[in-house]
Symmetry: C2
Subunit: 379 residues, 2 copies
């Protein structure tokens, strides 16, 4: 089976950009990724574009801006895992021998036209009954607090850490440090989650150029190998009305570790799906960075900070960098690419060799099924 590598990455700022068409955002990210890879445009064999709400033929509308309209372009949707699914599609095409070089794009514009409110889906009973995302995560937080004694202060530390990381990443939406006291004192959204415990409403796009091994070494002095690309589906809450773990994340990460031949202890840098502070704590446990119930202590002891045992979301994560849905999964791969090449500037994780990207999305109840993507990259 062919080895597959990332050889270029591009990304726009993540922030409200209501006046920039989303195809323009995606185009800029794609252009930057292609330029960074030094791959001539005509050498790109296939593109996958991940997004959730940006309309028909999104990838085509993006790539025709650079004249690349002849290649196969597939638009994929998988809620918050849309970007991860786009990356997987390109990887499969290359491994299949159907492409040597491919482009994965992720993009989303959340500030318009809905002003940050996701479109209501007619058959989404959960949302109709009030179990919108902040409420669902608040219930998770309550359960984790109840079961393990996790505190609001520990949750607040996630926001503090990711905001601090974001101070060094110019692409981030939220570039202002906050204290735990400020997080706790912010307006309540869904108890115990305050406004500073939730990711902001951002627009943005990211892209990566992926190539087979032979070709990758022709273009890149330091290609970054994709050691595992895993997508799973499932319910967010298979075990009950509310779960304090993510079964999809557990299953996807275990499979990815097996394929890559590494374990949680080998991961130097992780871009983790943290739309709410509690999510990051729960996912420490899901991804095996600590045992169930120990996430509070994990953040308390600074193990997920830059310089800790595994730097989690040095980019700022969804909480501080922003979460333009379809962009996120691709942006995570771009961030790991930079980290594993030592090109992450002020938020570089020293000596990072193994990176893990994790994104999970979809409906919030047993009645809904979503997707989780885990990629492991190795320098």
């Amino acid at each position: 089976m062919k080895d597959v590598y990332v050889i270029g990455a591009g990304m726009t700022d993540f922030k409200p950009q209501p006046d920039v068409p989303v195809h323009e955002l995606a185009f800029r990210a794609a252009w930057d990724a292609i330029s960074a890879s030094a791959v001539p445009l005509e050498k790109i064999d296939i593109a996958y574009a991940g997004h959730a709400y940006q309309g028909p033929c999104f990838g085509q509308k993006t790539l025709m801006r650079m004249g690349a309209t002849g290649i196969p372009i597939v638009n994929v949707e998988n809620a918050c895992a849309s970007g991860a699914s786009a990356v997987m599609g390109v990887i499969h095409a290359i491994k299949a021998g159907e492409a040597e070089i491919g482009l994965a794009i992720g993009a989303e514009k959340l500030t318009s036209p809905g002003g940050g409110f996701l479109p209501i889906v007619a058959d989404d009973l959960d949302s109709a009954m009030g179990r919108v995302m902040p409420a669902a995560f608040a219930m998770q937080a309550r359960l984790h607090m109840e079961r393990y004694g996790t505190t609001k202060e520990q949750m607040a530390k996630v926001a503090v850490k990711n905001r601090r990381n974001a101070m060094r990443n110019p692409r981030c939406h939220m570039r202002k440090e906050v204290s735990a006291e400020e997080v706790l004192a912010a307006p309540m959204i869904a108890d115990p989650l305050t406004r500073l415990s939730c990711c902001p409403v951002s627009d943005g796009a990211a892209a990566v150029v992926i190539a087979s091994g032979e070709v990758a070494r022709r273009y890149a002095a330091k290609p970054v190998r994709i050691a595992a690309s895993v997508l799973v589906s499932g319910s967010r809450t298979p075990y009950g009305i509310v779960d304090d773990r993510s079964e999809m994340s557990i299953r996807a990460s275990r499979k990815a570790y097996d394929i890559a031949g590494v374990g949680p202890g080998d991961v130097d840098v992780c871009e983790l799906h943290d739309p709410f502070t509690i999510a990051e704590l729960i996912h420490y446990e899901d991804l095996g960075f600590c045992k169930p119930g120990e996430a509070g202590r994990f953040i308390d002891t600074g193990q997920s900070a830059i310089g800790g045992s595994v730097a989690v979301s040095p980019s700022g994560g969804l909480l501080a960098k922003g979460h333009p849905l379809g962009a996120t999964g691709v942006a995570q791969i771009a961030e790991l690419f930079w980290q594993l090449r030592g090109e992450a500037g002020g938020y570089q994780v020293a000596g990072a060799k193994v990176g893990l990207a994790h994104t999970v999305g979809g409906g919030v109840s047993k009645l809904e099924s979503g997707a989780c993507g885990v990629h492991i990259l190795v320098a």
Copy 2:
């Protein structure tokens, strides 16, 4: 590279089914395909679901009805080529060695909530200016008439043929024969296209089970080999304001013929993208069944009828069977699967050995880019 085969197919009726949820339609098609393949549910490694307008996590919502929520599920959109893109995604996953057996689903519900009108896309200048699909195809028809002397009567014969084919296919939406005179006398939609020159507004779903060679032979006595799976992007009108050919169809079919090692003269049965009568004539030429300008004579001499040199859309095609957007590309593969196994019942093409599926979609002008999928299947 692995050989890939179709080993099962399922399909709902194509017709208005306003009271059936679209996930239920897709579930029924998927269930029938899996049952037909005799593959145990837990042996299916991946699923791709193609649709254009059916909302987030469509594939997940469909497959959780049968408990298959753990596998990777990717939702793809590519306008009318959404179904073909889903098929390609599964093929790539299998060829990549990431799956042994995969499921491609296509589905669409057009009767609700919009009552058959496609959602207006904010940046679609063409539609806003009145160049909706019937108008665009009418302009193509006018150009073909002007350039080659193609007649309204020749166009009408396409509807007559496909309606006649549909009389033998119980899944079709339009199961009533029409005469050329009736087609010509029907209410005018966009001159020269009358209502009987246009495909109806249908709901429906289709699914196919695809497997690698080793596995296919374990389950199917007569697996049908997918000899080429080609997707391209491009504009419908790269050469001018209106074109009387489809550059995407020409390019995709040439590439597919090359890969499959067959030519247009080898194709026994073709499921062709015929949303309007003129489209079928133009695509005869695009796919190489006849030379440019000769499509009128091709239908006049009965060469595209069942029993002719290449039976085109024996299923009834989009014109008579219906065109639930995302379903169409998968349904074409299902139809070819049945034809090449001799299981097409009343509309069987005797001795069919080579089948071609062709679907093309996306915006109508130079400013818009779409997708075209061509698959070649061999008995």
